[in-house]
Point group: C2
Chain length 464, copies 2
């Protein structure tokens, strides 16, 4: 519990309008896009890095947790204040400070909504590729904290690959700069990429410098239906080693398809039990050529039909259907556990087969979809809290999934992070020695363990 005299001090830092203390107000900041929730004791909306630093210094003096938060669209409970304390919402720090065409960089505050940044740079003929499905809502600060990915990561990489420099309030209250405004840089340890994906446990990001690329001259979108999921998974592996170099390569299984099919801009024939959604970027002639080869290749792998989006609206419709999958799955069952495991590219068919086996054995619906092109599969274990034992069975299925993923040399999370929901499983991936080292790193940054405690590492956190 934070002490009573902390609240007036918080009010003095951010002003009374930017502090929430009633349960009704605080409730909106108790949860994210997972099924976990925990009430914060106070919620603050700082208006500057200096205010963030003052809050963090206060937290150090009084030893209360601080939990940075963007839009709360996270999928691993990273912003859920599991140990109480103060949620620092960064949405007021929402300025696009600079878009530099000569330097091919943008400098932004963490509260900028991703789509706003993407649109702003596109008006200048530039492109910021990362595109998590929540792009219209999520903040760039959250993207950095979780190392968000998205569909075009197959060609363009993830958030990590675009962040050049950061300004961060350390857990000890100092404001530091990490990284560069240059394309290359190797001065000292790579703090920038250490903060990337550190899930708000190593500091509060207050400014971000990203690199931009030229907007691709053309993009084509294709969809290919398959009669079995196994056939689609096999086609993915073959496309990836074919040299066709897709920009995006997504798949949906039949449960997923059934949830979003009315959103698709065309009708799929009966018996289509899996869909591949593909994009190809580049110079117009090259794109035309590669899309044609991709379509032919899919047909050779047994796809029927293979459709090419004829208009930007058709393409947009396909991607829109893809983006709403996660909430749409709740049509099937009221609750779900979302995982985003990743496996080596060649292991995708084996993972798909394994998931089907787990689904049968546990008697649960486990739809999967997502970024097949980089082996990052979104696996959703559906359940109903009202059905006795179903939540527990879902947890067993999650363990089964992680077991097979590790057997296939995969990883527990491709882009959602460990946060709260996957912390108990961390030992399935990291050895004792690796986890001890990670804890020592955490302590080097955050000696009093005030910064987003209870995340990443298993077990309760200790304030020091």
């Amino acid at each position: 519990m934070i002490s009573r005299n902390v609240i007036p001090k918080l009010k003095a830092i951010v002003g009374p309008k930017n502090l929430l203390t009633t349960p009704e107000e605080r409730w909106g900041y108790a949860y994210d896009a997972t099924d976990r929730e925990a009430m914060p004791e106070a919620v603050v909306f700082p208006g500057s890095a200096a205010e963030v630093a003052a809050i963090v210094r206060l937290a150090n003096a009084h030893r209360f947790p601080v939990v940075p938060r963007g839009a709360g669209t996270g999928k691993s409970g990273g912003s859920v204040p599991i140990e109480g304390g103060v949620v620092i919402v960064l949405t007021r720090l929402n300025r696009i400070l600079e878009i530099s065409r000569p330097d091919l960089v943008a400098v932004v505050e963490p509260g900028v909504i991703l789509t706003r940044l993407k649109q702003a740079v596109e008006t200048q003929g530039l492109y910021y590729p990362p595109d998590p499905a929540s792009a219209d809502f999520c903040t760039i600060g959250g993207n950095v904290a979780e190392c968000a990915g998205g569909a075009v990561a197959v060609q363009y990489g993830v958030t990590r690959d675009y962040v050049l420099g950061l300004e961060v309030v350390l857990p000890t209250g100092e404001l530091i700069s990490a990284g560069t405004r240059t394309m290359k840089g190797v001065v000292g340890y790579d703090l920038t990429r250490l903060f990337l994906g550190s899930e708000g446990t190593l500091g509060v990001i207050t400014r971000i410098t990203v690199r931009l690329v030229a907007k691709p001259a053309a993009r084509q979108t294709l969809a290919a239906g398959f009669a079995t999921l196994a056939a689609a998974a096999e086609a993915v592996s073959l496309i990836l080693t074919s040299g066709l170099a897709p920009t995006a390569l997504e798949f949906m299984d039949h449960v997923t398809l059934s949830c979003v099919k009315e959103l698709l801009p065309f009708e799929l024939p009966e018996g289509t039990l899996a869909l591949l959604l593909m994009a190809v970027d580049g110079h117009p002639r090259d794109v035309e050529d590669r899309a044609t080869r991709m379509a032919r290749f899919c047909r050779e792998q047994g796809a029927n039909p293979v459709l090419r989006a004829k208009t930007p609206e058709e393409a947009e419709g396909l991607w829109r259907a893809r983006k709403v999958i996660s909430p749409a799955l709740l049509k099937v069952k009221p609750h779900k556990v979302s995982e985003d495991v990743a496996v080596p590219l060649g292991a995708i068919p084996a993972l798909i087969a394994g998931l089907q086996e787990i689904s049968r054995r546990r008697g649960l619906i486990i739809p999967s979809y997502g970024h097949a092109g980089d082996g990052n599969i979104h696996v959703n274990v559906l359940y109903d809290r009202q059905v006795p034992g179903e939540r527990e069975m879902a947890n067993l299925a999650v363990e089964d999934i992680f077991t097979i993923v590790r057997k296939l040399n995969g990883t527990l999370s491709g882009e959602h992070g460990i946060g709260l929901t996957k912390a108990p499983y961390l030992g399935m991936e990291l050895s004792e020695a690796a986890m001890a080292l990670q804890r020592r790193i955490k302590q080097a940054f955050d000696p009093h363990n005030i910064m987003n405690p209870g995340k990443i590492f298993p077990g309760p956190a200790q304030r020091r």
Copy 2:
């Protein structure tokens, strides 16, 4: 000084054939590609990760420095054993353990020569892009430790962008795995990228998993001569914002040109005072199209002549000339300080103008060349130790260079690292708070400060 009873213990670990103790033998491991040198007290060639771990544990027990070393081609003194101790040469760990086409990864030991890896993957139609000029000699382990770049980084990125996972002997002697075999991964802190560019101060890398890409179907190489360096620098900025997306974009100034011109596969007209060397990768038709547009663009910027390599041999000749620049500059003066500053892309013309001013003011020849396409310029301050005061003047010029680079929002090193030679200048880039944090990270890894002490951080290192 290492204690007398350490030598027999080292011998017991690696065997007598893999231990060097005489001054004549050790001398070969006292220096790298800089002008610094320091004698190691012993040199060992471990044959396995377990042997590396045993050596490191011994170093911890007896508190002597261990300095990992690949081929010794580093350009910042990273492998020079400035505080004595034991040099661990990793050239016996030189197996390519696996090249997986289905997974698009390779798993290698650190002592593999870069060109050997590149050739091995190319026979399978794959490509490992990083290409430092020392590719024929340097080891992949050294590439990872320094985060090596090279000419094609403009399109493909640097070593950091290809390393998925590492096996590392920590300074405390434990062997850990970091990272993944998957394309994406966000489990815990990003230790992989923390080791990338950590210059042998955080552990000894014993195994490396890199991602591979499809071998580009075609590449064209172009060269464009300019009458002034300023015009060439201006053309670089314009090419980068034109959307032409070069794969490589290198420049050479007139001193550099004079040192390598007989190696060029064509003659340049009188009055050519700067050369741009460009490559374009991709699908053959796309490459043809972009190369034509690039050539036209250069002509519009005043280039004359603009030449396209007509055969692979001509292209190879151009790149060979580029790769020997560093040693070739010693034709002009017997000694040099090599810097590899990087500036934001739009600041390249200002940097070039600044370098010319420093050269005039200090009365020194300061040729520059390198990776203009990512703002990473190799600046060489030439001097002669025999000329009284010239070495000191070179040091002043280096400070001038760093001062202007920082004024332009640039970084002290784009790809060579801080090592020994740039450690005194670290404070020009990192704040007190950032440097203190980096020292805490170092201590979290290496409590006794045995691992490559005296590197990165300014001031003498203390064994604890």
